[in-house]
């Protein structure tokens, strides 16, 4: 089983922007360890010369003219925001 220490668990939680209380970190690290241990099996597969899959069905992305096709509805865009003011999303101060 892969060992994941609490420091790594804390770092991953930070990267994922999920607050995890310090006392919950050991259990989280243990769960990561179990999952990563399970994933570890992939190391035994011979993937020499194999292309990583990009698209499961071979398809060429369609192109279209670069033009506005939708928009002009700020009220609808903001209608579900927890805090919207004067036509903008409002968030806590970002820059001091």
């Amino acid at each position: 089983m892969s060992e994941i220490d609490t420091e790594t668990a804390a770092r991953v939680a930070k990267l994922a922007r999920i607050r995890v209380a310090d006392d919950a970190l050991p259990a989280l690290a243990q769960e990561f360890g179990a999952i990563l241990g399970f994933i570890e099996q992939l190391q035994e597969v011979d993937v020499e010369g194999v292309e990583p899959m990009v698209s499961v069905t071979p398809m060429r992305l369609k192109r279209r003219e670069d033009e506005v096709t939708d928009g002009g509805m700020p009220e609808k865009v903001l209608s579900n925001a927890p805090d919207a003011r004067e036509g903008f999303f409002a968030v806590p101060k970002v820059v001091e």
């Binding site: 991953v12 990267l15 990563l36 570890e40 899959m53 499961v56 069905t57 579900n80 806590p92």
Partner: protein, 496 residues
């Protein structure tokens, strides 16, 4: 009379509506009554009776005018993962509490454009992450089936657990589901209904709350194979708003149901014979093989050598994509925002919001995904998984190239298990539920679960058929032959 109406198949209701033997209003009212009497099943998370009555009235007008597509007037349930305009759509997550989309998903807008009636939004695992519907912010959905007289509540499976429970309990005539690793087929098998995951790209993903974009597909969950054919046709089609949706003709799948499988070759993959597989599952699989042989198909043993690596591949790729897709839930544009303390900055807002809004399984997967994508691990985990995925897909291509038309496997490694039974297991144990279904998502193929038998305690068991890309019509026909041979007609006895 009213209870009988809800038992109708989609095809039966379509024909009766067109003949004027029943109205959509009557069908809809019967379903709404059934739903109100079935709160113990936890299938419907948001009921929309007023909307349903309006839609039914409009459908009845349309039926009278003779312009009635197959779904016109048919009352359906919609999985909570589909964005439905003005109706709560929260993927069974706290983080989307209160979210009412200003738009309609492509699939539901096609269904409603055909005149289908929406009864409400169906329970599911949070963000479709789960195999038992126990990760839902709404609480559990419960399987209408029980082990004989044992009153223990069983899971309807997941993630489309509400859809499965609602169809099996005759609360609606059909439902939509979505399937990222087995989320249509496993709950269908656990509840004795039919569930189809189409080829990746057959149905538009636009407006369906994203989990793992390279694996997610919407599909029908129905009372039988014919209904799956009808509903798939209505859900499918090219959509310019989803760049991965295929610009292909949608055939009349129902017209392809002849039940004739003579000359077809069915493969039985030896790698799906798992150690410790219950004898009932093995017996059912052998019976399925015999049924298709008796129907005139050639059945042969095949090998899909990378099967063993499908689940670990999935548990890299799906969390990686989820961590990216779920980054949008940050408390700014929609849904929940945590209450902030004096002096909290924007990062505090993100972290608190996501800690409060996401349940434990979603948090776990987002963090695993973050880990496998982080600097230093990207190649070892994520890129390696994408390479193994190429090999898994090639396994299927090879057997199809050898003349195999469809592959027969069990749908699940067991019958429905008890709610709470897996609470102390580590997360990997729960992931094993998808062992037979997840390969199909990784390879982008169509797969269907058909109820085919019952276990010793009377619970339904399903068989899965896997088809070639874009050949859902042929796959449905093979499933139809299997359905006719299996003759599964059992229904759960009403206790709710």
């Amino acid at each position: 009379m009213s209870a009988e109406l809800t038992k109708m198949t989609l095809a039966g209701a379509r024909d009766a509506l067109r003949r004027g033997e029943v109205t959509s209003a009557e069908l809809t009212e019967a379903c709404l009554t059934a739903i109100d009497g079935a709160d113990a099943l936890g299938a419907f998370a948001h009921k929309t009776p007023e909307k349903a009555r309006e839609m039914a009235a409009a459908a009845d007008k349309r039926l009278q005018s003779g312009d009635a597509p197959d779904l016109c007037g048919v009352p359906m349930g919609i999985k909570d993962l589909f964005c439905t305009q003005g109706v709560p759509s929260q993927a069974a997550s706290r983080i989307l509490e209160g979210f009412r989309p200003e738009y309609e998903s492509t699939v539901t807008s096609q269904l409603f454009g055909d005149g289908a009636v929406m009864l409400g939004k169906l329970n599911m695992d949070e963000f479709a992450m789960g195999s038992s519907n126990e990760t839902s912010a709404y609480g559990n959905a419960v399987n209408p089936w029980r082990r004989g007289n044992d009153e223990a509540e069983l899971t309807p499976g997941g993630s489309s657990g509400g859809s499965a429970a609602a169809v099996a309990a005759d609360l609606c005539l059909a439902a939509t589901g979505t399937d990222t690793g087995g989320s249509i087929r496993q709950p269908a098998a656990f509840t004795g209904i039919t569930g189809l995951k189409p080829t990746y790209g057959r149905c538009s993903r636009w407006g369906i709350i994203a989990f793992a974009s390279s694996l997610d597909q919407a599909g029908p969950m129905t009372k039988d194979v014919r209904d799956a054919a009808i509903l798939l046709k209505a859900m499918a089609g090219h959509d310019p708003k989803d760049s991965t949706s295929a610009d292909l003709e949608v055939p009349d799948f129902e017209a392809m149901l002849t039940g004739d499988v003579r000359g077809k070759t069915i493969g039985i993959p030896r790698e799906y014979r798992m150690e410790g597989m219950p004898k009932e599952i093995e017996d059912l699989w052998a019976e399925g093989r015999k049924m298709l042989e008796d129907a005139g198909a050639t059945v042969k043993d095949i090998s899909l050598p990378h099967t063993k690596y499908a689940l670990p591949t999935y548990y890299v790729i799906a969390p990686a994509e989820a961590s990216s897709n779920l980054a949008r839930y940050d408390g700014v544009r929609y849904g929940h925002r945590a209450k902030l303390s004096q002096g909290d900055g924007i990062v505090d807002m993100y972290e608190k919001t996501r800690a409060e809004g996401f349940g434990p399984e979603v948090q776990r997967r987002v963090m695993v995904g973050t880990y496998v994508l982080s600097a230093g691990f990207y190649d070892a985990y994520y890129n390696r998984a994408r390479k193994v995925r190429t090999l898994i897909k090639k396994d299927f291509e090879d057997v199809f190239a050898e003349g195999v038309d469809a592959i027969l496997t069990p749908a699940t490694p067991s019958a429905a298990f008890g709610l709470g039974e897996m609470a102390d297991a580590d997360p990997v144990q729960m992931y094993l539920n998808d062992v037979f279904t997840v390969t199909v998502n990784l390879a982008g193929l169509p797969g269907i679960s058909v109820p085919a038998g019952r276990d010793g305690s009377g619970l339904p068991l399903g068989l899965q058929l896997i088809g070639k890309p874009w050949e859902e019509g042929d796959l449905l026909n093979t499933a139809y032959a299997l359905e006719q041979a299996a003759g599964f007609v059992a229904k759960p006895s009403k206790w709710w």
